[in-house]
């Protein structure tokens, strides 16, 4: 009696769960439709005339409001030169992330392996830098970088290395601290110097952390607005966020059409990239969140 009742209820639970699973799927489909709607809206409005974008962002383009590819043409071909901004953003992000990964992983290795007062001080300064808001150093930093001429897309990565060192150092050090010395010692006995040991043994083991740091730094640098705005020579070099902000009010008008088109051009490759690299991005987020 007891056992049949239990059996029945388990079955009931199963059916119940089945039904509730469907309900969950439906509910979440609806929520997610709302969640992606803003992005869809950008796509829709990129085909509309700018006055129709502000007065009715929710309508589909119709005969009156549609401008076909004109907004894209404007974004790409005007003096705002969105494509060169895209190129600048890409250059800055790729170079900075590469530089950060190479330099901080090596620095972290040195800091963890060499016990000295200066490595300890440096390590704690790095931790400290993580809690300092950008506004604190924004003005002096813009002065220092200006004096040193660190103001073009090819050299600004050095600034990012400096300001972004904190998080990267922290994550690499954390990993290295847990790395047993034995492997390296074995390499030493085989006659490897520190450089060879680092590049052929340590770095390959660190690969997951390298990817995570790379993802986090990429998300930060690609989207950063204020640092490049204050540091770059903006009359020659603008990045994507700078241009999108610039479209709003420069040249006496707010170019909503061009803004929408540029956003589509910016977002599309990112979303595609995300769909492919999702696994790594989520891992990166998780390992980054362990800080704090």
């Amino acid at each position: 009696m007891e056992s049949t009742k239990k059996f029945k209820s388990a079955d009931e639970i199963k059916i119940k769960r089945h039904v509730s699973d469907y309900i969950f799927t439906i509910v979440f489909t609806i929520i997610c439709a709302f969640w992606v709607y803003p992005l869809i809206m950008v796509l829709i409005n990129s085909f509309k005339d700018k006055t129709h974008i502000t007065t009715n962002p929710f309508n589909l383009p119709n005969a009156e409001s549609s401008v076909q590819w004109q907004n894209y043409d404007q974004a790409v071909n005007t003096k705002m030169d969105f494509m060169s901004a895209l190129w600048n953003s890409l250059t800055i992000t790729v170079l900075s992330v590469a530089l950060i990964l190479l330099c901080t992983s090596m620095a972290a290795y040195f800091v963890v392996r060499v016990k000295a007062w200066y490595t300890t001080v440096f390590y704690y300064l790095c931790l400290f830098s993580m809690i300092v808001p950008f506004q604190m150093i924004m003005f002096p930093l813009s002065k220092v970088t200006d004096t040193l001429q660190l103001n073009t897309p090819t050299v600004i990565p050095f600034v990012y290395l400096g300001f972004g060192a904190g998080t990267a150092m922290f994550m690499f050090s954390n990993f290295l601290k847990s790395l047993p010395l034995e492997i390296e010692e074995a390499a030493m006995i085989d006659g490897c110097g520190p450089i060879k040991t680092f590049f052929s043994i340590v770095l390959p083991i660190m690969k997951p952390t390298v990817i995570s740091v790379g993802i986090l730094e990429t998300m930060w640098i690609w989207n950063d607005y204020l640092l490049p705005y204050l540091v770059l020579r903006i009359r020659y070099f603008k990045t994507v966020p700078i241009v999108i902000q610039y479209f709003q009010g420069s040249y006496g008008r707010v170019e909503w059409g061009a803004i929408m088109a540029s956003m589509v051009i910016t977002i599309t490759p990112i979303v595609i990239l995300y769909l492919f690299l999702q696994r790594y991005i989520i891992k990166g987020v998780l390992s980054g969140a362990v800080k704090g």
Binding site: T54, S142, D146, G249, R253
Partner: protein
Amino acid sequence: MKKRLALILASAMLVSSALCSLTACSGGGSNAKGHVYYLNFKPEQDQAWQDLAAAYTEETGVQVDVLTAAQGTYETTLASEIAKTDAPTLFQINGPVGFANWKDYCYDMTDAAVTKELTSDAFTVKDGGKIYGVAYVVETYGIICNTKLLQQAGHSLDEITNFETFKAVVEDIQANKAKNGFAAFTSAGMDSSSNWRFQTHLANLPIYYEYKADGIGKTDAIKGTYLDNYRAIWDLYINNATCDPGVLSTKTNDDAVAEFVNEQAVFYQNGTWAYGDVSAVGDENLQMIPIYIGAEGEENQGLCTGTENFWCVNSQAAEEDIQATLDFLEWVATSDKGTDALANAMNFVSPFKKAKEASNLFVKQDAAYTAAGKTPVDWCFATMPSEAWKDDVGSALTAYAAKQNDTSWEAVKTAFVDGWAKEVAKSKA
């Protein structure tokens, strides 16, 4: 230990020198000829300046860069750009208040060739007998009227002689909005691309009349004598327009231009610089009329004419860059290409001796008003204490438009009167 330190230092120097050589190429521009970097204030003329700069470079080989600040961010951009080694060599101030802020950067232009080209001393910013700013454009604003629509609505310009008569016409047009298919006013947008039309240009009128009544030219404490008039004209603008007063903050100048050109409204407050935007309506249908606010004696009032655009040369720039900049200015004011660009590409009336006659309809209309004995309204807004003051007044105007009652008008008053005193105090702090 010592050896190690020496090695560290040596390598540090090596790295930094490598960095320097790496960046040397980006230093650029500072050759014997000098170069010009113009931080332009007027977004409408950006392209014309870019073209003119290119023409100058082609002719002389001197590099001229033009950067235009986004609307409403000139001070911000100037503040961040001027702190750089590669600072603008040429920038602009809006008059004495701007000069007070930037005087450390204003080169003494008393003996500059471009200063000698001015038709009158009045077009300068002076301090202690020396000239630090040179005006390059004289402008006029008022209410641009589409006379064709006005006629369709059954009215004529002859009816409008002061605020009362203007109000009657406006309200009649608005009352028949459905029938006529157009409103009286374009949207009084308070987006940053448009808010200066009201927080600066329209606000000029109560200040002008107050100065006139008190016989002064500037003040540290505005009284707001004519604020009721300001309210009356603002009410008229916002309640007889194409859009609801609640949504002004999102309306841009583009919207207003579009409404005007598409014949959705009869009146549009703006100045000579907007001629290019509205010329599609046709010269025969365009007339700029004075902004009446109901002050005594306004029947004799003309358009608002003046300047808030003074060139300054950055005194802290390199010697050769200062010279290059002065040469460039002289070329702009005297050469055929330069004067042609000022008059035709930019539609400017420039106070230079060799200036060409601008092909600008509104400029001619302004001259006609003056010839008919009307008194032009001075541009007193150069005496407004700061950009922050304008923005605060503008915000208060927007808030009032959304909620039109005495309480929210008090906020405008506070921003106008108390804000003035506060901003003066801040600028002196």
